[in-house]
Symmetry: C2
Subunit: 345 residues, 2 copies
């Protein structure tokens, strides 16, 4: 464990390096924190921190910067994390001002996170473990072509063009849909597959399309995530060359960023932090990720997060993500709460 003063020194170094992006000298530490010791004493502590791997020296006569381990310790001892009430109120206000619509919320979420943290913000739509049939509607387009509109649990809608083997009238289609609505209500696609009842030809045919749609919904691994804040990253001093950022952009272009930044723990609802080399994916080992799931564990889980340089303002990042996730929680609860299962008929 760290001695108390060495710990103070480490915190001071981290704090200052986060703020200024410049290696921190012993003199600055002595000056910044209230320790009544001389820089020489600080230097002894720094030597210790260096040996233990908490800090790194870019070169012999430079100051210190925190290592991943140093940041980790800093993060693990952060206290009093939480946004000021005024900011909470402001954010909450903005969320209640926009239209009642999931996509708007997510778009607003990434905008706010990016602005607050000055880093890249990422958010994904919430996804339930397996989608559940809620309602089916079929609109005839042509004699042999129809549009199937499938409403899934959680106010999600999927549509598909259906080719019909033989001409079927709108009336017949409506009847078929009615039948299926009755039989499949509330079921997942696995349960639908297991349902062992005799259905007329038309219904069997449509069921196949139903299953395709539901499977597509389930398999759609990660939808296009919501992103914002890249211009902040480009203005960070560590990325002045533009090269350090190139692989990150590659990830974005390949739509792999979300998969890669997800932490090992699958469904924790706490804010999780991965620092530098702690990230599994090599491509982001120069970055830190602050991420939280949100939503209702049994209903649908989404992700909000920040990707930025390891030298990021963790306190602010964690508190922002925590609060936004909390807001998204309540919004989703509203969205799902009003929808008690099996009340429509």
């Amino acid at each position: 464990m760290l001695q108390t003063r060495a710990e103070t020194v480490l915190k001071s170094i981290t704090r200052q390096y986060i703020a200024l992006a410049v290696p921190v000298s012993s003199a600055r530490v002595a000056q910044e924190c209230d320790l009544v010791v001389s820089p020489a004493t600080i230097r002894n502590d720094m030597m210790f921190l260096d040996n233990e791997g908490y800090i790194i020296r870019p070169h012999h006569s430079a100051g210190s910067i925190p290592s991943d381990k140093g940041y980790r310790h800093y993060v693990s001892t952060l206290e009093n994390i939480g946004l000021p009430v005024t900011e909470k109120r402001m954010i909450s206000h903005l969320f209640h001002q926009v239209e009642y619509d999931l996509e708007r919320w997510l778009s607003l979420a990434v905008t706010l996170i990016a602005q607050q943290s000055h880093n890249v913000a990422v958010a994904t739509k919430p996804k339930p473990p397996a989608c559940q049939f809620k309602h089916l509607e079929i609109v005839s387009l042509h004699e042999r072509l129809a549009l199937a509109v499938l409403v899934l649990r959680g106010v999600r809608v999927r549509q598909k063009l259906v080719n019909l083997n033989q001409p079927i009238s709108q009336a017949e289609l409506t009847a078929a849909a009615g039948k299926l609505n009755e039989v499949y209500s509330g079921l997942s696609r696995f349960k639908i597959q297991d349902t062992d009842i005799n259905l007329p030809d038309t219904e069997t045919q449509i069921t196949k399309d139903l299953l395709t749609m539901m499977q597509a919904e389930d398999e759609q691994a990660y939808e296009e995530p919501f992103l914002d804040g890249f211009h902040f990253l480009l203005n960070q001093p560590e990325f002045n060359t533009g090269h350090g950022i190139s692989n990150l952009m590659g990830l974005v272009d390949q739509r792999k960023l979300v998969e890669v930044m997800l932490p090992a723990e699958p469904y924790s609802l706490e804010v999780q932090v991965s620092i530098g080399k702690e990230n599994k994916a090599e491509a982001i080992q120069d970055y830190s990720v602050v991420v939280s799931h949100y939503g209702l564990p049994d209903e649908a889980i989404g992700t909000v997060g920040i990707v930025g340089p390891t030298r990021m303002n963790y306190a602010r990042a964690i508190s922002t993500i925590g609060y936004i996730a909390q807001i998204m929680d309540t919004l989703l609860a509203e969205l799902y709460g009003i929808e008690a299962p099996d009340t429509w008929e």
Copy 2:
């Protein structure tokens, strides 16, 4: 007008600068093109091109690079633009392999454009001038809450939660929807507003929500565009500093890129090129834009385009955008063609 040899020289300079990103000297021009004259002669032509504003010299003893005017002339004299048949076949093949779904097509489109041109690719969904009512379905969620699913012309679906003034049963809702489907079929929201018939309370109430949904659809100025290829831009030598690119990233983050890159001419179906200062928006005056609308002018128009440094491979960019737009044309035609107006009942 340019003399024939000066023109050859200009083309050679442009071609080489596009390929190598290095100012082109008179010797290189003499070597690269088949002119049987000495570098000194080329230099005379270069002096002329300089005076006329076709080329720029970074400094006294450097070679030449094309000005915006030079690029413009180069583009206007491009001939034989068109992708090789093998590439066309490859692209076409890929499009026919993916699911029959507009978003997949667009996602594939930007991926292909980015790969082909090594620049940023942009695409937007097609949007009709004003959306047209096609079919309405209402699903009761609670006594006083329902989900309205509105199918618009062009296989587009919108949904909205509707609060009901008094409790209404699913049967009543279905009846109301049926009534509205009868009355509003094929109409735009303006025509619906003008429709002067007496409707029961419930229907009138729902009509308000209908109009809100249709207006939202119409006003949704530009949806989140599909983007790809940023990592290519970061690797371009002219953006090594990362600063030149920062304002472009800002545009992306603000989702303004598409608005800004759209050319003056609103609905031309030809590939259009804006070079550097020709762009109206100041933020992209260091870039060139190659863009084309696609779709069916009376039905729905979308945009595909490339944003890159003025030093871009215009021949390739134009041919790629042209071909992709053409493919999107046919795909959209399929999507709309199968949907003759007023055939469903």
